[in-house]
Structures are given as C-alpha cells and as structure tokens.
C-alpha cells in the first residue's frame, strides 16, 4: 500500500503575523495571516512537530496591534504577542494528531490568522484542510476596533478550505487530494471559524484517528464528519476505488460563494487508477 504526497506551507522556524487584504469575488476584507514569510501571501502556514517532544517557534507580530497566541492543545496557555514584537512561543509536548494554533483575541480570530499544528506526521503523507467562514462586514468592524455583537444572526458570505473557495480549492495540492488507487492518506482537518462545519465524503468512508474535542469518536468509520468550531481531526482515507469524488460541507449554505452555487467548502478526491 502506498502513500500520497503533497507539499504543505510549512513553518518550522519562524512565523509572521501579517495584515493584508483578503479578496473573495467582489468582496475585499481586512485580514490577518500566519505566514511563513514577512510579506502577505494570504495563506496560513502549517507547523509540523515531532510527537511527545517539547518544541518552540519564533513568532513575529507584524500587525500594528497586540494579539494573543494559543493552541487547542490540552491546558494550552495564552501568549501575548505585542505589536511589532518577536516572541519565542513554546509548543507543548503532544501525542500524534492534528491540532491548531490561532490568535485568541477577538480581532485575531475574526481576521483569520491561524493554522494546522501537525504533530508526529513527519514520515507520513498528509493533506490538510483549514476550514473557515468569512463575514466581510464583521471583519471590517473588527479591523476598525469595534466590538462584535454576537447576539445578532451570523451570516457568513464566504467559506474556504485553506483560504480558498471552490473551484480554487482545485489549485491547492493540500486541499485537492490526488492519490493513486489503493493508496492510504491522512488528512488533517481543523475548524478555525465561528460555526460548526460538517464534511461529507463521496465515494469513501474515512477513519477518525485523532480528535481534539471528541475522542470518543476515535476509530469511527464515517462518510459525514462534523468538525466543531475549534476542533481538529485527523482522518485516514483508503483509496479503494478510482475516480473523482467531491468532498463538501453538507451544511449547504457553505457550498456557495457570496450566495452563488457551487462554491465554498468543496474539494475533490481524485484517485488515479
């Protein structure tokens, strides 16, 4: 049985918190990213670390306001990132799995800096899906320093995997799962948004092999997988049949771009014979 391959936007030494403009269709949004470089690309980086080992990463906050760093690891602590400062952030010793790092202040959460923290997968083959939804008006308010009224209905206009919406997800080798027949691959999935998401796999069931919030589901074999806000999962997919099969959010407002179907959280599993 083979393994699949994909190239991640890995950040192994230094991470930059970079402000910029996120463009989706006709919407332009003030945004933040956790980048592998000092300049804006629009994509959040993945951090890979070994399992059960203390580690660290240097984070440079290039934004004009302070932010708070955190992870969804058990007993995670907040770390202040002053504006313009460089901070050496300790990463906890964790068992193999998928986790997330993120900015834990309201503006940091809404503007979208945060990515996958993959632990113990250095010799495995991985894809990753950073799930997030975007409401431009809320991002404008937050960027202007306004508080968000969470009692109002939340109506995001854009839904992305790795900061791309369908059909652009097909251009991302980490989101588009291209494998050979009978390959086994692993997908790290994490929900960075403000709402729960649920992914449906066409053609396949996947095994849940790590879960930060619902460990009771480890070992379940499912075709429809909830990923609650703040949750990270690793799933194993065995490509037992050839063909092209969509994977999409089954909350069907989330497969649109500003209301147009199809869009949003859709990607593809392409199993080559």
């Amino acid at each position: 049985m083979g393994v699949c391959s994909a190239t991640a936007m890995n950040a192994q030494d230094t991470l930059w918190i970079v402000p910029g403009t996120f463009i989706q269709g006709n919407d332009t949004m003030p945004a933040l990213r956790a980048e592998t470089q000092a300049s804006w690309t629009g994509f959040n980086a993945v951090i890979d670390r070994e399992a059960n080992t203390d580690a660290s990463i240097v984070v440079f906050n290039a934004d004009s306001v302070a932010h708070t760093w955190s992870t969804n690891a058990p007993d995670a602590e907040n770390v202040t990132l002053p504006a313009g400062a460089t901070v050496n952030v300790e990463l906890p010793s964790l068992p193999q799995g998928s986790y997330q790092y993120f900015l834990n202040d309201e503006q940091g959460k809404i503007l979208g800096a945060g990515g996958l923290l993959r632990i113990g997968w250095s010799t495995e083959t991985l894809f990753y899906w950073n799930l997030r939804e975007w409401q431009p008006s809320m991002m404008e308010l937050s960027a202007a320093g306004e508080a968000i009224d969470w009692s109002l209905p939340y109506v995001p206009r854009h839904f992305t995997i790795n900061e791309r919406s369908y059909p652009s997800t097909g251009d991302d080798p980490n989101a588009y799962v291209a494998v050979n027949l009978n390959d086994t691959c692993y997908i790290s999935i994490s929900n960075f948004g403000h709402m729960n998401h649920v992914l449906h796999f066409h053609g396949f069931h996947v095994d849940i092999i790590s879960a930060t919030d619902h460990p009771e589901r480890l070992g379940w074999n499912k075709d429809t997988v909830p990923i609650r806000k703040g949750e990270s999962l690793t799933v194993r997919l065995v490509a037992f049949q050839a063909g092209m099969y969509p994977v999409h959010n089954h909350n069907l407002i989330a497969v649109t771009n500003a209301g147009f179907y199809p869009g949003g959280m859709i990607t593809t599993i392409n199993v080559m014979p």
Partner: protein
C-alpha cells in the same frame, strides 16, 4: 395466537411506514408538488415519487434493500429542470455518484439507471445534487435502508424487531414559494422543521407515532438532510443504545440520553421501551451558523396497547388502562388473556367484568371474549 401477534405487528408497521417502497422500483422527480404544513398551508415542493403513484412526497419514498442485493434504481425526470440521485453514504462508483460535474445530469425527459451493490447494511440517504443548496431545501431527498434478513443490524450485531425510519429535514417557506428569489443561497434560514416531513400537531397523528409492544427492540434509523444541527433527547425509559453511524458499526456501542446529528449524518439507535410508556424524544433544531435554537419537534413513542383502547378502535375496552390492580370490563364470558409473548394468562368468565391483574408482571396483554374483538391493556407497577 402467533398469527394474531403477527397481524397486529403488521398493522403497526403499515401505520408507521406510510412512505415505504412499492414496486416497480422506478423513481421520478417533479417540481410541482404540494406539501401541507401543520397549519394547513399548501407549500410548493420539488421531490421524488414512485412512477406508479404519480405524485411526489416529502421526504421521497423510502428505498429498502437487502444486504448484498445488486440494485438497479430506475429514475425518470419529466420535470422542467435537470436532476440527479446522489446515493449518500453508499460509496458507489463515480458513474453512479449522482454529481453532475463528475457523473451526469438527468435532463428533462431523460431516464437512467443507477446501479450499485448494497454491500453493507445500514442507514443511508439520497438526494438531488443539482444546485444542491436549492434543490434540497425544496425537498429533493429521502432515506435508504439496507437490512439483513435475519433482523440483525450487521454481521455479528444485535438483533431487533422493527425498523423505524426517522428522517429530519427543514425548509424555508419563502424559498419554496419563490425558488429563484431565494438567491443569495447563503442567506437561506429554515423556518419549518420536520420529522418524516411532519411538524407540530401533525406529529400527534396516529401514523406518525412510533408504536411498540413491550419487550420489542426498535431500530431507530435516524438521518438528517436538515440545514440545522439536530439534537435528540432520549428519556431513560427507552433504554437507548447507539449501534451504528453512517452505515458502519461504532467500535463501542454506547447508551445515550442525547445525540446530535449534523446535516448528512445517520445513526442507528436501538430502543427497548419500558412497558406502558408513552412519551417523546424531543428534537431540537439549532442553526448551524450562529448556534441559536430554532425549534423543537418530537418523536412520539407509545405502547401500542395504550393506543388501541384510547382511540376506541375496539368496542370492548377496559378501564383504567394502564392498570395496577383491576381492569373493569363489561360482564363477559369465555374470556382469554395472553401476554405479549402469546402465553395464556387467564381463561374463564368475568361475570362482573372485573379482571384482577395485581400480581401480574408489568407488560402488555391481549384480551378476547369468545370470538369477539381483541382488546389490549397494560399492567404497570
């Protein structure tokens, strides 16, 4: 006696599976259906129906197959727009997946056959995958059950007595009244929340009530095509145990008092309700985006014996029912009473009509005088 029990069970099955499959197996789609809401509003729907029936329903017909069956699902689309059937969770090959861009459209006037092997038992769904956000909220969905002849859930799994399909969905009235006007689709927010296509007082109708006989184990086949997150609350009297999710056994079956079901998910939950129980599984619908609770519906579960006497289907009902000590009937002769397993509990006359049940086990019983109608009652503690 066994034949009487079987006949009663068949009646209950017919009542609870009003949208079950009928031959020949040919589905069709239409876009001019009508669905009646609880307040009597006639709402336009799109959906599926059997060609032999000539009308569509919400949800669509229940499709039932036997494990290992080679299925050819015939489908015709006489409607004005293209549709498909996606066989949700059956892991069919690309050609039969029902996704227009990777499989094919079934355009107006075209027929096709979806072929697959029902190789795993479980609860599955089907729905149209054309402009999915709109076509689903219009009602184009249904449930698929793959079962085993020996009435076990899966190879080596627990046995049970009866399948109970429970399909959750929701819709937005404004969208159904004006589908093109529903754009932009990301603002769709359902305002009607359904269990097997019914809401509110409709769920009190006899055909919507899940009836059981004491000692029976029912397989609740829970599946959701809602836009909402569904949360079911199981009273302890149901002794609910989750056995399967998404057509696969869960590694460790677990007792549960609540279960959340996301759009597209399925669960098989076995319940063994206590004798004489009459209550509800409350079903909460939570908005997926902002987490506000939108509505609460219910699944009514009721000892079948209670229903027979209360609805007056027999002229020979006792009182009280359920009873602890004595049930009062009209004077009767040549009376026979059986328990739910067909064992004779009493044979004789009741000249004063009083049947003493104080020492009897808790459970459901059948009673008949001579060759008269059968009545049922429950003994409680």
């Amino acid at each position: 006696m066994k034949r009487i029990s079987l006949a009663l069970t068949a009646l209950i099955l017919l009542a609870s599976n009003a949208w079950s499959q009928m031959p020949p197996p040919q589905l069709f789609s239409e876009m001019d259906g009508i669905h009646f809401l609880a307040d009597g509003t006639a709402l336009p729907i799109w959906g599926y129906g059997w060609m032999t029936d000539g009308f569509i329903t919400l949800p669509g017909p229940l499709l039932t197959y036997t494990e290992g069956e080679q299925v050819d699902l015939n489908f015709s689309n006489p409607s004005p727009e293209s549709h498909t059937i996606h066989l949700h969770g059956l892991d069919v090959d690309q050609a039969n997946d029902g996704v227009p861009t990777t499989s094919f459209f079934v355009v107006t006037g075209q027929s096709t056959t979806y072929s697959f092997t029902a190789d795993r038992p479980g609860t599955f769904l089907y729905h149209c995958h054309v402009t999915t956000t709109l076509h689903l909220t219009m009602g184009m969905y249904g449930m698929i059950l793959v079962t085993r002849p020996d009435m076990t859930l899966f190879d080596g799994g627990p046995s049970y007595d009866q399948d109970i399909p429970v399909f959750f969905s929701d819709l937005e009235i404004a969208t159904n009244l004006d589908p093109p006007g529903s754009f932009p689709f990301h603002t769709i927010r359902p305002d009607v929340f359904m269990v097997n296509g019914k809401s509110d007082n409709q769920l009190e109708q006899a055909a919507q009530i899940v009836h059981y006989e004491p000692g029976q184990t029912l397989a609740l086949r829970l599946g959701s095509m809602a836009y909402s997150r569904v949360m079911c609350t199981f009273p302890s009297e149901l002794n609910a145990v989750c056995q399967m999710s998404d057509g696969r056994p869960v590694p460790e079956p677990f007792a549960l008092d609540s279960l959340e079901i996301y759009p597209g998910e399925r669960f098989t939950v076995l319940i063994t309700p206590e004798a004489g129980w009459d209550g509800t599984i409350d079903v909460d619908y939570w908005n997926m985006a902002d987490g506000f609770i939108e509505d609460t519906q219910m699944i009514r579960v009721r000892d079948a014996a209670l229903d027979v006497s209360e609805t007056g289907q027999t002229p020979w009902a006792g009182f009280p029912n359920p009873a602890q000590h004595v049930i009062q009937y009209p004077p009767a002769f040549n009376v026979t009473v059986w328990d739910a397993w067909g064992r004779e509990m009493f044979n004789g006359d009741l000249p004063d009509g009083r049947l003493h049940v104080q020492q009897w086990p808790v459970g459901s019983y059948l009673i008949r005088s001579g060759t008269g109608p059968i009545s049922r009652f429950v003994v409680t503690d």
